[in-house]
Symmetry: C2
């Protein structure tokens, strides 16, 4: 998506440690006109995939998932992050390792909101090493639902998570894939 | 908003401790068709208020804030919750007491995303004792911005937070105000 690449080049900031800051338009502050275009593009990519539900993780995935869900006309479910694995009620859980914070966290979704008949599209803002997305994939499998694919705003291609998922046969559509980045330049795939 | 009241009566569940569970349509799982109607109604209420920015708190406020922001055509900023008050960079912060979890947390927003010229609409899913909304109000004042008012999906009128804010002169518009609720019935104002 040309618009995503343009926006990253215009407003993104590369910080030390391989961090791309897009807080001015994608998380923290959300450009709702741009967000609507992101939702439209994700809906276009998966229009014929009979998606019945979108699954994301709190917090920064929610806005994008909602934009895509509105355009596809399907509900959005978000998994919650917990520090502990003790969660009440009937739930599906997965443990995710965060490289950024060097810690594990548990993602949880109520079994009420993910069912065997569902065709699930995963949506998130970033895809780097793919651990979060693999956690969400696990939740889909726990529910006996069908994984349709993933729609990602920005993939850090150089961290390999997206290609690992593609090698497993998962359809991964990223609106921008960054192959390399430094203080002075960002190269898209 | 009749539709909000109908939805609460049809799908909401009253749990012990004065908790209203709306996870099936408003948080956790989000009915995106309904969400779009919520956004439309909030935009209608504040159409003439020259809103330049919407401010909410992660996580459950984000979807509603985004829906309203899309309809008003303004950016959405969400404050992050932190356990500690140590936050890097130039930020505005407020301490909020959570009655639900009987703990204090700090809400934080970067000073990049809230400015003196902004006319800010606060959006959240629930308004109960009003502590979260008062925290957001504090952030707006820290930035020297103008508080236009608040748009809330569900107000628990019997907990008094909304009326306290109204008594302070804050415009508070709630799509449904619950005056009392029990296992067997919910009474709207």
């Amino acid at each position: 998506m040309q618009l995503m690449e343009d926006k990253i080049l215009a407003e993104g900031k590369v910080l030390p440690g391989g961090i791309l800051k897009v807080g001015s338009f994608l998380n923290q502050q959300i450009d709702t006109v741009f967000l609507s275009q992101i939702g439209e593009e994700m809906a276009r990519l998966y229009r014929d995939a009979q998606v019945t539900k979108i699954l994301t993780i709190e917090s920064s995935g929610i806005a994008i998932a909602v934009a895509a869900g509105m355009k596809l006309g399907v509900p959005v479910v978000f998994a919650k992050k917990h520090k502990s694995s003790n969660v009440d009620g009937s739930t599906y859980t997965a443990v995710v390792h965060s490289y950024t914070h060097n810690t594990d966290y548990t993602i949880v979704v109520s079994s009420d909101y993910l069912q065997a008949g569902d065709r699930v599209l995963l949506v998130d803002d970033f895809l780097a090493n793919g651990k979060a997305l693999q956690g969400l994939t696990h939740l889909v499998h726990c529910a006996g639902a069908t994984l349709v694919g993933a729609a990602i705003a920005v993939e850090k291609g150089f961290q390999g998570g997206g290609d690992a998922l593609r090698a497993q046969g998962v359809r991964v559509e990223s609106l921008a894939v960054i192959d390399s980045m430094s203080d002075s330049s960002i190269t898209f795939r």
